[in-house]
Amino acid sequence: MKTYLPSGLPKPVPQPDGLDAPYWEGTRRGELRVQRCRACRAWQWGPEWICHACLSFDLAWEAIDGRGTIYSWERVWHPVHPALEDAGPYLVVLVELPHAGGIRMIGNLLGDPHQTVTIGAPVDAVFESHEDHALVQWRLT
């Protein structure tokens, strides 16, 4: 399967306590889910046992619209992992999700790694399949 970064990076290991399981299950089905507090309705990312906003422990997982905007970005040239030795440059973006309270996520920006990247540009979530998990990547809308 075609992935943005080459294989050989350490495998993501979901938390043993199951906290982030709904996120990983969702991505495998092409659904982007994040936590939302049942008490105060605040959105949050990453996954926690407690709501950052009101300290309630009553959190739900909700599927969200995978549309966002680029808040910041970087283009990595120098590899710091052996698996990435010939992978550069590659683009990492910080995406803000206005439909989920402005939470932000990290991902790769698909397409030409040399492209001009613009802060504020709209992007869509893309689900990149791996052997037993999927990563949420981004492409320009």
Partner: protein, 404 residues
């Protein structure tokens, strides 16, 4: 520590060579740095009864170093941490002495930062499984310090119009300082254009925007002002300290609020409040230069200029020797060598004594030429107050104000 202002001092400093091939253990280097600091202070080994260090699973421990030096410890503590540790541990040492647990504390950091444990996910660290907060960034190739911080600088450029050229002045200034520092690892003048033409590491960071990983150990010794009076050196009095001050989030630091806001924003009121001074009163800064832009970001958050004007501040000549408020007169981590912050405190102690180790013939007696041309002086004329701005990451920092 408002009521402890001026009651504690740094009385001794020491370091090993800065190299990329120490060929020694972190224990051997720590022993050398602590021994040099004890001799510098004019203390006997038995006068030191407290020892602290910080590390990231990459170094020796205080209780193994003390006994080699003939020191029986009444107090020791080794903590996990990086660039926000020196100032924080100085504050903790004061607390330990104040609590009556010990009388004089040696703090060290010893690391083979080039030959054993480099920054980022290289070596054995690269194979570790990705868990917890790392899941949200490491699978996308974002794991080293540069990769972790670069987005903060990119957004600052977008919000405030800051440029690569402006922050390259930090490297240019520090390189000029390092040329006058015989122990600096890189004694070579570097220009703004050299920085801009160096290869990308992680855009917007060029190779020469990044600090120099080196092998070294460094040490400072803290004791009470009362004991300091009988010692060999002019004490550097501690006016204020802030330790490991954090943003609302430390993990997922990029997920909340304006990301070009860094921990110094929260630390400044603590440290200036204790010292009872303002940025205008500071003669020398030691703003942590993990990267050129970290120096810039902290100077603006601590109020040396307005938020967003850091690019102008660092490119205006202010931070260079001969300027209004030089920064990292040793050459800092960009040129002297990467020490996780302690060498920047060591340098400011020497500046306050008036005895920095440049090539002026009377440097050891405090006689300087104040000629800052290449290979000459790097002593600031009669500095009264110095400030260190420690940086671990955008979300965590520490600060220290000292006077002579």
């Amino acid at each position: 520590m408002a009521n402890l202002k001026d009651k504690y001092c740094i009385v001794g400093v020491g370091e090993t060579e800065f190299s990329k091939n120490s060929g020694r253990t972190t224990k051997a280097m720590a022993v050398e740095a602590v021994r040099k600091a004890i001799l510098d202070a004019g203390l006997k080994a038995s006068d030191v009864d407290g020892m602290m260090s910080y590390q990231n699973g990459d170094s020796t421990f205080a209780p193994f170093v003390g006994p080699d030096l003939g020191i029986r410890l009444n107090f020791y503590m080794d903590v996990v941490g990086g660039g926000s540790s020196t100032e924080a541990l100085i504050g903790l040492a004061i607390g330990a002495i104040e609590a009556g647990m010990c009388k004089t504390v040696a703090l060290f950091r010893s690391m083979n930062g080039y030959t054993e444990f480099r920054i980022g996910g290289t070596g054995a660290r690269s194979a570790a499984p990705v868990r917890g907060a790392d899941l949200a960034q490491v699978p996308f190739g974002m794991r080293s310090a540069g990769q972790n911080f670069a987005m903060t600088f990119m957004r600052h450029m977008y919000d405030y119009g800051t440029t690569s050229e402006q922050v390259a002045h930090v490297k240019q200034a520090h390189s000029r300082h390092a040329v006058n520092n015989p122990k600096a690892f890189e004694k070579k003048r570097v220009t703004v254009q050299d920085v801009l033409h160096s290869r990308w590491i992680c855009e917007p960071l060029h190779l020469l925007d990044c600090c120099l990983e080196t092998d070294n150990a460094t040490c400072v010794i803290v004791t009470s002002a009362e004991r300091a009076r009988d010692l060999k050196q002019r004490p550097a009095y501690i006016m204020g300290v802030a330790g490991r001050v954090s943003k609302p989030r430390v993990d997922y630091h990029w997920a909340h609020g304006p990301i070009s806001r860094v921990a110094g924003y929260y630390a400044k009121d603590i440290v200036f409040g204790q010292a009872g001074i303002t940025p205008e009163d500071v003669d020398i800064t030691g703003s942590y230069d993990a990267f050129t832009f970290t120096t810039m970001l902290q100077l603006e958050e601590y109020g040396f200029c307005k938020k967003g004007e850091g690019g102008h501040y660092v490119s205006s000549g202010i931070i260079e020797l001969g300027g209004k408020r030089p920064n990292n007169t040793s050459g800092g981590h960009l040129c002297e060598g990467y020490t996780h912050g302690m060498a920047m405190v060591v340098e400011n102690v020497r500046q306050l004594r008036g005895t920095v180790d440049d090539t002026c013939p009377g440097a050891a007696e405090g006689k300087h030429t104040y000629d800052y041309s290449p290979g000459k002086c790097r002593q600031v004329k009669d500095p009264e107050i110095t400030m260190n701005l420690g940086w671990a990451m955008p979300a965590t920092g520490s600060a220290l104000i000292m006077r002579k």
